[in-house]
Each structure stands twice: as structure tokens, then as C-alpha cells.
Symmetry: C2
Subunit: 398 residues, 2 copies
């Protein structure tokens, strides 16, 4: 399976996609912004640009349009006929799954916070699809909690498809634009109490169709995602609990999943210039398609359903623990590291920023507040030092 | 003149350079870490790697070594004979200038702060040169003020030199490693009071020698730098004062400098994903060599000498102005933008992070504290809105 991940399936808030910037402001694009799907018009737009136009326009994201209410589905009416086929049924079921997960995680967060409510923003994009961003800010327990879903589809320029396939173009190969579908849920939860950990999760599903002028070519699909914990202080029982629930979810499907995805997580959330991970890991996987598609859909669902039981009990235990200014400052320094990782390394964030994704959705992952002290070094043997040590030298928690 | 700037003259704290990672830990490299310059050993090291080794090792920065005291000069003893030539005399005079500027800026900051003192870290690097980092943290006026100088030299792999020349290698062209010299002063000053602006300045000088196996090729040199102001609130008289002093410095040398470098500054400090500049600009230039070298050395000196008179009077006026929590929170949001620019776009920072520069020197540019609120929009017509508007639509201040 070729790896598309470096380009098209980032583990962050906005599911990026490939389209031409020029189409957004054209009269044709305005027609496309109507809900009703008209593949003829879209095809015409792309064709009129030609492959050269699409390549010149590069990778970009159309501007989103705010919507007054969330639709039943972000899939288009035109997909209904196709929806009977197994492939589009995975699309529909994945959207249903992430939207249910968004509801259940937000419900659990609101219940644990005990007062604050999520603010919801619904948006659509002219080219196809849209998203629901939910943010709870300055609650009793969380300083910032974002839980976003997006379901987007469109057409990749041929060059992006080639890059995704990882193959060089042969001189006589001229594939047309490639239809794609990407859907995901993504969330970062930053509590106020320095003993209550930050948690991030993201699950996503990606499909490409055959290039428009090569109808025989196979469709491709893959899953990605993960759930990871970022405390400022280590409570071993908390970290063990978190990793155990992740392992349980993995073990239901394949005994190799947890060790493999645990290491993948440690490798991914690495702040190279610091030589440390941003937190204590969890699971992470990408480009997963070398298993049964139904099995992976069930696995992603299981992972998303494990978010609340792996995290909320830890919050309940730590949210009211008294803390000092010193401990708060250390949490803020670790939040600074979170910012460094997300802005410098996270593929979804950096891709989203560079291609014009919905900035507020992408950067909701940043903490409300953070801190950088010059040359800060925790005292050897201190609780702060122990956390740093575990970020430098990842441990096996179970 | 070819542009080397995207690779070798970043406007930030660590002056990066090209060398082979492998040479740092070799016994030969240890010999090189002695102060006495031995070109024979260095040449041998590079030759033993061969051009392929150097290319494979890629772009990297040697680890710095802490030093107990600052040396008289970071130039090597072996440079003394050469120092009589005009080229190395620019090196020596530029080092002298930036070290004097470091002293005078730090003195002015300490005097205005009225209590806090800079902490100094001196470091050297085995391959050649070193630096002096000075940081004042949690003072009465500044929450974080960093003023760094570095003077580094070494050898660029041939590929980096080719990239710097902007020319493709011809099949029979096999240039050897290229000696280079880079020196700079860089500073970011973040005050506590939201009415007192952040200021950044950076001045740098760069030279390459002829490739070792092409002694006839010309040496190349250029200057870069700038000074810019980042307030959270606009006091028109302050911004006019700041820009006037910058313009005065420019006008002493060329009437085209201020308008050209003012626009360059607005263009450079652009946070693309926000569509806004990080602040209200100043001057910025890079790759400057199409003027007399002595004239540009004088110009850089004049710019560095303009830092204190353009900035300190503003601080004196604003440092004790009473402010509300709302105004402090807005300053913190603008600090968040500063972090976004530096981590995502600033060439010096991103280059330094990716190549292993001295992290604490590079990231001292980040504010002590910063803030990100979801979808924050200042009320139209408010003071916060006016600042944002000026960051989105750069103005002519004088």
C-alpha cells in the first residue's frame, strides 16, 4: 500500500484536501457552494483548469462557509445510490461513528466540568462536505476543550495523487484528477489543574477513487488515528489506567496492535529539537489498510469509544487536587512544549496552516495559556524531573 | 549576487552553519576544539569525509560547549595575519560592533528595568567560534529580554555552496568544501506592561571564501538585519517615534533604504495563516551586498546604535501605565501570534530548530507567557481592533 499519510491524512483538526484555489472565487465555484451535488459542474471546473492549472495552484483548502445548523449528514444526496456499495457505506458509517463519538465525548466533558457548555460552529465548504467544531473554554475543570469532526471530499490534482502513490510519473502517464473522501474526529482537552492531564485523540478515514480517466484503477482507503496523554506530573496509576484501556481496545483486534501503536505514538509525538516527547504517549497509527476494512472500522470505533473511560476517571480523581504556583508554572512550561510540537512538527497542523485550513479549528489544539522560561531545568529527582525523564526515555506502563 | 539567505543567513539567534555531524565526535574534532586554529587538521578532516560524506551528513550544527568566561574575540589566532586584509578586518570590526551593541543595549535595559540583571552564558563550538547569550527574566519592566551575539565559522559542504550560489552543478564541476564566516547580534525584548511594546532587532554579516579547490573564485559577503516593533496597543506618537529613528538611520546612507526596508519588514513578518503581520514593522533587509562594503558596515552599525534611542523612550513612557485584566489578556493573545510567527515562519528559528542549534538561545525569542482563545475577535472600533487592523493593513507611520 502506498503511503499517502505525509500529504493527505494528517492527525489534526482540519482534514485537509487538495483543490485549486482558483475555483473558490469563480462563478462556477459559487454554483458549487449550493448543497446540491452536481458532479458535472465540478468536473468541468477541474477540467477547465487542466492538470497544469491544478498543479500551479498547488495544495490548498477552500474557505469554509458558516452554517446555521448541522446537517443530518455531510455526505451529498448524489451519494445515495452509491451508498449501497460497501465502500460508500464505510463512509456513511464512519461519519455516523465520529459524530456519535463527538456527542458522547462532549457530554462526558460537560458532565465532568459541571457547568460550562460547548460552543458549536458548523461550517461547509463549497467543494464538498463540512464540519462541526465544538469548543468549551474557561470551564470549571478545562481551560480549553475542542472536539471537532469534519467530512470533506473533492478532487486531488494528479500530482498530489502521484505523490500519494509514491510513484514517479512515467512520461506517457497522464492521470486525471482523483476524487477523494476524508473524514475525521479530532480533539484536544487541556484541564486547568496541573495534576489533571491533557488528552488528545484523533480518528480518521480516507478514500481515493480511481483517477477520472483511468476507471479501471483500484480505489484505495486507509485508517489513521490515536489517543495520547500529556500530564505535567506522573501518577503511575493514572498512566497505567490510560494505557490499559488503550491496550484493551487494541487487544480485541490484534495482539500486535498495542505494542506497535504504542511505539508509533512515542515516535510520532517527538519534539526533535528538545529530544523529548510531548507527553506519555498512548497509541498512534496511520495508513492502516492491510487488514479487513470492516475490522478496521470496528477498531477505530472501539478506540473512539475508549476515550471517555480511559480519560474521565483520571480527571475526576485529579481535578480538585490543591496545587502551588510552582506546579502551575511547570504545567504552563509543558504547555509550551505542546505548542512547540503542534506548530513545528504536527503534520495536520503544519499542513493546515500552510494550505489555508480553518485556522480556528486547527489552532484550537493550542492551550489557552503557555510559558517559556530561558534554560529551565527541573531539579534532579524532583517530580518535574521525573516527568521530563519519562518524556525523554519512553517507558512501558503496563 | 546569488541569494544565500534562505539557507545561511537567518534573522535569528543562532547563526547556523554547515558542517558534518560526524566530525564533532571524532578524535580529530576534539583536537579542533582547542582554541588554536590548525587549518591543516581541519582540511584533513573534511577531506577524509570526502564531498559525499559531507553531503550525506547534510546540514547540521555542532553542539556548543559552555565556557567559563567570554573571550576577547571569537576570531581565531590564525586570523591575525589575515586580519590585515580588508575582508577579515570587516569580520573583526563587525564582531567588535555587535559586542559593543550587546553591551550598550543590555546596559540600557538594566537601567530602565531598575533592578534586574542579565544572566550571561558564553559558549564555543568545536568547529570554530562561539557566542554570548544574555537573558533578563522576570524583571520589573521586562518579563523576558534576550540579547545574543554569535560569531561562527566553518566549512560548507559543496552542495550547500551550490545551493547558495543558486546554480546547478555541471557534471565536471567538483568544488571542494567552502569556508564561511557568520556573525550576528539578535534580540527580543518582551515587557510586562501591555502598553509597552515588544521589540526585536537582529544584525548579521556573512562571508564565504573561494571553494578550497578553486582559489581563483571570488569571495562573497553580505549584510542582513532589521529592527521592528510589536505593540499590543497603538500609541501613534510611539510608533511614529520608532519609525522616525529607523528612517533617520536609513536616510544617512540612502534615501531609498527606509521605504524599501520598511516594506520588506511588513512583508517578512507576515503570519500567512492569519493574514496579519505580527506587529507594526520597522525595517528589514537581507542579502545586501550591492553597495560599498564599508558603507554597509557603517549602516549596520548605525542601525544597531539606533535601537536604544528608538525604543527606550517608549518604554519609559509606558512601563508604569495602569492596565486592566482585559488589556493584559489582549497582550497575551498578541504574544501567541508572536509564538506562531517565530515557530512557523521565522527562517532563523525554523532553521535553527531543524538543524540542532542552541535551543535555549533560539527559543529565548519566545515570550515568557502567551495565550490562545478560540475564535477571538476584538469588538469593531475598539483599541484592540485598531491594532489588529494595522497588522492586517500595514500603514505608513511617517
Amino acid at each position: 500500500m502506498p503511503s499517502c499519510a505525509t500529504i493527505v491524512s494528517p492527525p489534526s483538526y482540519a482534514i485537509p484536501f487538495f483543490t485549486s484555489t482558483s475555483s473558490t472565487s469563480s462563478p462556477t465555484a459559487k454554483l458549487l457552494s449550493k448543497r446540491r451535488w452536481n458532479p458535472l459542474i465540478q468536473t468541468k471546473t477541474m477540467t477547465s483548469l487542466g492538470s497544469k492549472g491544478a498543479v500551479r495552484a498547488g495544495v490548498s483548502i477552500e474557505k469554509e462557509t458558516p452554517e446555521a445548523e448541522r446537517p443530518e449528514t455531510f455526505l451529498r444526496g448524489g451519494d445515495t445510490a452509491e451508498a449501497l456499495s460497501s465502500s460508500s457505506s464505510v463512509r456513511a458509517r464512519f461519519e455516523k461513528m465520529i459524530r456519535e463519538a463527538q456527542d458522547s465525548v462532549c457530554d462526558a466533558i460537560e458532565a465532568a466540568d459541571g457547568g460550562a457548555k460547548f460552543k458549536e460552529d458548523v461550517w461547509s465548504r463549497p467543494g464538498g462536505g463540512g464540519g462541526i467544531s465544538r469548543v468549551l473554554q474557561d470551564g470549571a475543570v478545562w481551560e480549553k476543550a475542542g472536539v471537532n469532526v469534519s467530512v470533506v471530499y473533492g478532487v486531488m490534482p494528479p500530482d498530489a495523487y502521484r505523490a500519494a502513490k509514491g510513484a514517479a510519473a512515467s512520461p506517457d502517464e497522464k492521470p486525471g484528477p482523483v476524487p477523494f473522501f476524508a473524514a475525521g474526529i479530532s480533539s484536544v482537552l487541556h484541564p486547568k489543574n496541573p495534576f489533571a492531564p491533557t488528552m488528545h485523540f484523533n480518528y480518521r478515514y480516507f478514500e481515493t477513487d480511481a483517477p477520472k480517466d483511468a476507471p479501471g484503477a483500484p480505489k484505495q482507503w486507509w485508517f489513521g488515528g490515536g489517543t495520547d496523554l500529556t500530564p505535567a506530573y506522573i501518577f503511575e496509576e493514572d498512566v497505567k489506567h490510560f494505557h490499559s484501556i488503550q491496550k484493551q481496545a487494541c487487544d480485541k483486534f490484534d495482539p500486535t496492535f498495542y505494542p506497535r501503536f504504542k511505539k508509533w505514538c512515542d515516535d510520532y509525538f517527538y519534539i526533535k529539537h528538545r529530544g523529548e516527547r510531548r507527553g506519555l504517549g498512548g497509541i498512534f497509527f496511520d495508513d492502516l489498510n492491510d487488514y479487513d476494512q470492516e475490522m478496521l472500522l470496528s477498531f477505530a470505533t472501539e478506540c473512539a469509544n475508549s476515550v471517555v473511560p480511559s480519560y474521565i476517571p483520571i480527571i475526576e480523581k485529579r481535578k480538585d487536587t490543591p496545587f502551588t504556583d510552582h506546579q502551575k508554572a511547570w504545567q504552563q512550561l509543558r504547555r509550551g512544549r505542546y505548542v512547540e510540537f503542534n506548530l513545528v512538527y504536527d503534520r495536520g497542523t503544519t499542513f493546515g496552516l500552510k494550505t489555508g485550513g480553518r485556522i480556528e479549528s486547527i489552532l484550537v489544539s493550542l492551550p489557552l495559556t503557555s510559558r517559556w522560561e530561558y534554560d529551565h531545568k527541573p531539579e534532579e529527582g524532583s517530580e518535574e524531573w521525573k516527568l521530563l525523564d519519562a518524556c525523554i526515555n519512553p517507558k512501558e506502563w503496563i
